[in-house]
């Protein structure tokens, strides 16, 4: 068994596509119409185009919004991405106007920061030392 796809629930796929590609720097992999407004929209890391895909999944299900709001209210990032340098990435993204709920914090074995993906989610970036 292999992990090929993981998902984030986004409030608007067009906004998510823009944020995840133009701001975070991922690359679009699949974009397939699924009926109505929904698309099968995935992105991958430019460093690993054949690696795990991130599915930008519509959050239209009624259970999705209260769940997301409860997580964000307590500052909980449900999704995590690895970076080489959290402080550099923090500076780059902050200059692009990205909102962070947690600035870079050295936790010993790793450094983390938490950002708002503008689609209703908090994302943790992590650098292992």
């Amino acid at each position: 068994m292999r992990i090929t796809i993981t998902s984030v629930l986004v409030h608007d796929q067009a906004v998510a596509e823009k944020f995840y590609t133009e701001v975070l720097g991922f690359v679009k992999k699949h974009d397939v119409p699924m009926g109505g407004d929904a698309r099968w929209l995935t992105v991958v890391s430019p460093d690993n185009p054949d690696g795990t895909e991130l599915l930008l999944e519509p959050d239209a299900h009624p259970a999705a919004k209260p769940w997301k709001e409860a997580l964000v209210g307590d500052g909980i990032p449900y999704t995590q991405f690895a970076v080489d340098d959290v402080k550099a990435e923090f500076a780059r993204l902050r200059d692009l106007g990205v909102r962070f709920t947690q600035e870079p914090v050295d936790m010993g074995a790793f450094t983390t920061a938490v950002l708002d993906d503008t689609c209703g989610n908090l994302i943790q970036i992590i650098q292992m030392h």
């Binding site: 500052g75 947690q102 600035e103 914090v105 074995a109």
Partner: protein
């Protein structure tokens, strides 16, 4: 709130660690506080337990919670610590 609340809040080592971390960086989400306690101090308390600790600190006036849009941040207030020991250091101030 009175001094009893402040002494009660300070009596617990986990609550003192929470204050240490808020002194290190003010304005943290519950998640950040939990992450700091578990990774920096190996305190594996549940989110609910930390939430309850924050309520005790809030009752003592040592922590204030602020909503900012969709997020909630916790802030340190050292005000209640200011005259905590005056009654012993200055004998004319008696416990009320």
């Amino acid at each position: 709130m009175d001094d009893d609340d402040v002494f009660k809040a300070l009596a617990d080592p986990t609550r003192r660690k929470i204050l240490d971390e808020l002194a290190d960086r003010d304005g943290q989400t519950l998640f950040e506080i939990c992450a700091r306690l578990s990774s920096k101090h190996q305190l594996g308390s549940s989110r609910q337990a930390i939430s309850q600790h924050l309520e005790v600190l809030a009752a003592a006036g040592l922590v204030h919670s602020r909503r900012d849009g969709r997020y909630k941040f916790h802030h340190l207030d050292t005000g209640p610590l200011e005259h905590l020991t005056d009654r012993w250091r200055h004998r004319d101030t008696k416990e009320t």
